[in-house]
């Protein structure tokens, strides 16, 4: 067996893009900018291959003769050590053994298709660094070239003579003697075994096995830990909570059920026959009706901890995982669009300010965007909506929210496995990747997380999932199975355990196909290897199901059988390695009981004196602040038009680059019925009051959808809570308070929550030089995602001003609500009243705006959020390439104030439920009549010149060319 190496360099005259990118990253991190870099990528080929064969593969398959050149030799050959840039240090980066290497898998297929018998392939990257000291080479390697959680760095010669193969596994049953352990020992077992269970939970397990008069096996303990994990059971929020705030005390038996789910139950009851929810908080995604033929489903997940350690892989598998949720909803929905929201620290953070174990936020952001891009684009699912939010408290714990919408035939919205049917796994094979992901996601991140939980980090393979999707749709339409779910956190343990919850199931762990030898039965059971789905297939359909999968190259295997026993029986060959009752697994967990407490901070006044003179500068600063600034660099890397349903794209306006409020897609190509996708989030408000933060987020998500044309009576929303350490009563209290707002808003607006997810304990701890523990907790972050519906896509509108001479109206009431605003952010001020929502005003406004849009009275509509009216007008102006002349005198304010307070409030207050509408002069009467029941004021006209001119009476307060406004908005993230 010989190991061959193929190095691929850019051909002479071709730009070395990879090297240029690395040099950019080196400069961005403030490292030695003088360094010269040459980069190659390559393949290691193992097998009985002649040099001529490898050379032919290199030329015809692995490289492109027009733009690339190759070096081919056996590993160790001196020719491979010849630097293309003179004296330099050589660095190789390889995926660690067991880490998914999709390109190598495909290359092997291509090689075998050419009739050459290679046995194994591995990819690598190779870098030559010149004019740089060894220490800097090490820093560059660690910070830019490689990520230790998934890759290994080899300095100098590769020094391999073969690729790793798994070692054969010899069965050995492991018993964990839990019955005799003391409390300290139980806690120790929970920690060292990465079970992340509390003492009470460990004691419950101990008692259970004492009652059974035996000790558990390792796999039984792991099964319980997976099922009881925060990630899988949401035990904190669905637990008992004693909550206290300024209004008094409240006891919850199941907090989520009594707030967020409760609101939906109440709305459905009130709607009666008009109920348009189909399946909520039950399946892998929420389902609502769409038209006579189809329902639509929506799910948003987080993948925070993996993304902190390995941004590309974490985000990649995050989107891959959430796509499997609609695929595993009902009998399988077809994914039709993605949405992504990320929270990062400032990408310009100085390298020396990074705590140990933290990746630089710029690298995190680039990695996350690339990870989402590569998975979403390959799946052929348009990424149509998203947001980026920056706050330095996300430094050690970035947030990655990924969502997916699917469409499913109405009659396929429910599923049920039956006793006697086969448990069938299809898709990716099982490896050691992702072990302990479910339990790890419930743990606090520390500077050691990287070494401790390397296995929890993975790379996805989108094409495997696409192949699974292709056969899933066909098998569904042929009616070959009765139930399906995805393998996500907890792997088979979770998926099979859930599917068999009401029945009982026997699993044959030795029948699960493996990526490589050497996995023990427990690893097979809890591995979170990606791209796997589990089905319940009646015996009479198994052959057809199998053949369908085989015909498209998808692996499908029987791994168990559903049985009417109420037990989970795990077998490896002839050995029973686990035997638990479903009842203990799913109902045995002791309830989590928590105290929660909330005390809203005292509202302090803002001193407005002397603040109004700089209105123009403040406007430019807000436009250039990272949360508001253009995200075009990100958006264009996502395919937002595949599937051809695009109606309103994320970028709109005369130059296709303005900030759209919501995306609109038509999921059925021969129908005009459309969906809107939007979101709302404002973590800064949470520093003031999480109730108003949640209410504002809901209002924002809804008004974004309404602004493009969604019917406010057909908007479904999702909640995703990302919070700090909820064992602290005040942290949990801030979450309960947000959930109370969710209940109030949903019921008042008749907007049901249909699905949700929480991610708790988002904190990062490290030790400073003095050895003191330092903890950064993320700001309380609630993402609200909205999915609206439009009867006829042709009535939709965009936010860009359309024509000079048209009139400009402000809908909604403006209060002095600058607490947490971007005006205070850019001025580095504190205090103020955080924006609140008055649902008695907002519901009529949403309905009136919708009525005006759907009857064609509105040429442009934009919601007002960060930066208030000033930013909204500026965005509408530069997106439309048209100026505007606006008088603030008409802005209706809520409150008794004047002078500078009034001016700043009118320009920059972030009061909720406000829209700016552009109306043709001929439609003014009809528009005003439609808006007669709500606050709606004429502010001015779209301009003849390309100048945004805002005055108050005779005094001009802002007068700026739209080009300057646009540049301020576009330049910060124009990477």
């Amino acid at each position: 067996m010989v190991l061959w190496e193929v190095d691929i360099y850019p051909a002479t005259g071709q730009v070395d893009r990879r090297s240029a990118e690395i040099v950019n990253d080196i400069v961005d991190l403030g490292l030695d900018a003088q360094v010269r870099v040459a980069a190659a990528h390559g393949y290691l080929l193992e097998g009985d291959l002649s040099k001529a064969e490898v050379q032919l593969l290199a030329a015809k398959l692995l490289s492109d003769h027009i733009v690339e050149k190759t070096v081919v030799a056996q590993v160790g050959d001196a020719v491979l050590n010849e630097s293309p840039i003179g004296e330099s240090s050589l660095v190789h980066v390889l995926p660690k053994p067991g880490v998914m290497d999709p390109v190598a898998m495909t290359a092997l297929k291509g090689i075998q298709d050419s009739g050459v018998q290679a046995t194994q392939v591995r990819t690598f990257s190779k870098y030559w660094l010149a004019d740089v000291d060894p220490e800097t080479v090490r820093v560059i390697s660690e910070k830019i070239l490689a990520n230790d959680s998934i890759e290994q760095v080899i300095y100098g010669n590769l020094g391999l003579d073969r690729l790793e193969h798994g070692a054969a596994y010899e069965f050995e049953l492991k018993i964990v003697a839990i019955r005799e352990l003391t409390n300290d020992e139980l806690e120790n077992l929970s920690a060292t075994g990465q079970l992340y269970l509390t003492l009470v939970e460990m004691q419950t397990i101990q008692q259970h096995f004492k009652d059974l008069d035996r000790d558990p096996t390792d796999i039984e303990l792991e099964s319980v830990a997976q099922t009881w994990s925060e990630h899988c059971s949401h035990k904190t929020l669905a637990g008992r909570i004693a909550y206290r705030d300024e209004h008094g005390e409240r006891q919850f038996d199941n907090m989520l059920k009594e707030t967020i789910f409760g609101a939906t139950v109440q709305i459905r009851e009130e709607l009666g026959d008009d109920d348009w929810c189909v399946s909520v908080f039950k399946d892998n995604a929420g389902i609502v009706t769409f038209n006579d033929e189809f329902n639509v489903v929506f799910k948003v997940e987080t993948h925070n901890h993996p993304s902190a350690l390995e941004p590309y892989g974490g985000a990649n598998t995050g989107i891959g995982g959430v796509i499997r949720d609609p695929m595993g909803t009902g009998l399988g929905a077809k994914p039709i669009c993605n949405t992504n929201v990320f929270c990062f620290a400032n990408p310009d953070t100085l390298l020396e300010d990074l705590p140990a174990g933290v990746l630089h936020p710029r690298r995190v952001m680039k990695g996350v965007v690339s990870g989402v891009r590569d998975y979403g684009n390959r799946m052929g699912i348009p990424t149509v909506n998203g947001a980026l939010y920056f706050d330095d408290r996300y430094l050690g714990n970035p947030l990655v929210y990924a969502g997916n919408v699917g469409i499913i035939p109405c009659e396929m919205s429910f599923k049920e496995a039956h006793a006697g049917e086969w448990v069938v796994a299809i898709g990716g094979h099982t490896g050691r990747d992702g072990i302990h992901g479910a339990t790890f996601s419930s743990a606090e991140l520390t500077s050691d997380s990287e070494s401790l939980s390397g296995g929890a980090v993975q790379i996805g393979n989108a094409i495997t999932e696409k192949m699974v999707l292709d056969v899933l749709m066909e098998a569904r339409d042929r009616g070959l199975y009765t139930c399906v779910t995805d393998c996500g956190a907890g792997g088979f343990a979770s998926a099979v355990g859930e599917m068999g919850e009401e029945l009982g199931v026997e699993v044959y762990l030795d029948k699960c196909p493996l990526k490589y030898d050497g996995l023990n039965y427990t690893e097979i059971w809890i591995s979170e290897a990606q791209e796997r789905m589990v089905f319940s297939v009646p015996d009479e359909n198994w052959q057809e199901f199998h053949d369908l999968c085989a015909s498209e190259g998808v692996s499908a295997n029987i791994i168990g059988k559903f049985q009417d026993t109420g037990r989970l029986v795990l077998k490896y060959e002839d050995h029973v390695v686990g035997d638990l009752t479903m009842d203990f697994l799913h109902n045995g967990r002791p309830p989590v009981v928590r105290d929660a407490f909330y005390q809203p901070p005292v509202v302090t006044d803002i001193d407005f004196e002397g603040t109004s003179a700089s209105a123009s500068d403040d406007l430019l600063s807000i436009l250039g602040s990272l949360n508001v600034a253009s995200k075009e660099w990100v958006i264009r890397q996502y395919d937002h038009e595949v599937q051809a349903g695009s109606v309103i794209k994320p970028l709109v306006g005369i130059s296709n680059d303005g900030p759209g409020d919501a995306a609109v897609i038509r999921p059925v190509l021969d129908s005009w019925r459309a969906l809107t996708i939007s979101c709302g989030m404002n973590p800064r408000y949470g520093d003031f009051d999480t109730y108003h933060m949640a209410a504002s987020g809901i209002d924002e998500a809804i008004r974004n959808s309404v602004a493009v044309g969604a019917n406010p009576d057909r908007i479904a929303i999702l909640d995703n809570f990302c919070w700090g350490y909820t064992d602290r009563p005040e942290t949990l209290g801030s979450l309960v308070r947000a959930a109370l707002a969710c209940y109030d808003m949903a019921v008042d607006l008749q907007t049901p929550f249909i699905s949700g997810k929480d991610s708790l304990n988002n904190e990062f701890s490290s030790f400073n030089e003095a050895g003191e523990k330092q903890t950064i907790s993320i700001p309380s972050t609630l993402l609200i995602s909205a999915m609206g519906q439009v009867d006829d896509a042709r009535t939709c509108v965009t936010m860009d001003f359309k024509e000079s001479g048209n009139t400009i109206y402000l809908v909604g009431k403006t209060a002095c609500e600058l607490g947490g605003s971007h005006w205070t952010l850019v001025r580095n001020m504190t205090g103020g009243q955080v924006p609140q929502v008055d649902t008695s005003l907002s519901r009529p406004i949403f309905r009136a705006v919708h009525q005006a849009i759907s009857t064609g009275l509105v040429r442009a509509c934009h919601d007002l959020s960060e930066g208030g009216l000033a930013v909204g007008l500026a965005e509408m102006a530069f997106a439309g390439g048209l100026g505007a002349n606006v008088d603030l005198a008409n802005v209706e304010t809520d409150g008794d104030f004047d002078g500078e307070t009034e001016l700043v409030t009118k320009l920059f207050s972030e009061s909720n439920t406000r829209f700016v509408c552009e109306v043709e002069p001929g439609n003014q009467d009809a528009f005003e009549a439609t808006m007669s029941g709500v606050v709606c004021k004429l502010l001015g006209t779209v301009g003849e010149t390309e100048q945004l001119s805002v005055s108050r009476g005779d005094v001009v307060v802002v007068d700026l060319p739209i080009a300057e406004l646009k540049e301020a908005w576009q330049s910060p993230l124009r990477w």
Binding site: A462, Q643, A644, N656
Partner: protein
Amino acid sequence: MATPRVLVLRAPGTNCDFETAHAFERAGAETQRIHINRILENPDLTKDFQILCIPGGFSYGDDVAAGRILANQMRNHLAEVMREFKASDKLLLGICNGFQVLIKSGILLDDNENGDPPATLCWNDHGRYEDRWVHLKTTSDKCVFLRGIDQIYLPIAHAEGRFVMAGEHVAASLQSCDQLALAYTTPAGDDATGFPDNPNGAELNVAGVCDTSGRVFGLMPHPERFIDGTQHPRWTREGLQAEGAGMAIFRNAVEYFA
């Protein structure tokens, strides 16, 4: 009019097959989406069709290089069938990933003396995947799919779309044979002079190429993504067109068999 039958070829990772079939159907064709494995098992399946379309996507993940694995599969196993298909007055269309496959498989342009394609599609100049709308003009009288189209506005969405030829002799040959069929332009219709009008750095602003007969055509832009007025990025300001400009390309293909 005879109704032509279109084979929309799919492979692992193909993802524009539904909307491409939909566009052909709206133009009046009958379509069938067929997996490459079925063609490899039974190459004669292709004989039932008048048009073969390789749609966009990421065949085999675009691992190794965009379209390379599918291209090599077709080169290794289907070269003869494809030669016959081309010789029988039928049409072949490759969109985006399909263009990458057509060019790398040797189906679109004849191989050079070493058995390698004379041109390629490689990484965009700026090194990123890019989704954006581009202005294009027809630069060949030969291409069946572009008949009657002078200028057209379509979206691109790719990472590896930079058209590069193996030397000036290739450019001269393709130009003299009128094969450089579609070019990126400025909004006014003049030659693009760089990003973003030429979104990937393609040599000679080439966005699409046809074979010497004009019946085999590959292009980077996605005509199937502009068959309805609502797909235009500015329909809310410029007015809703009765149909998207991309329909003309599919209609030309269908009308060839009229």
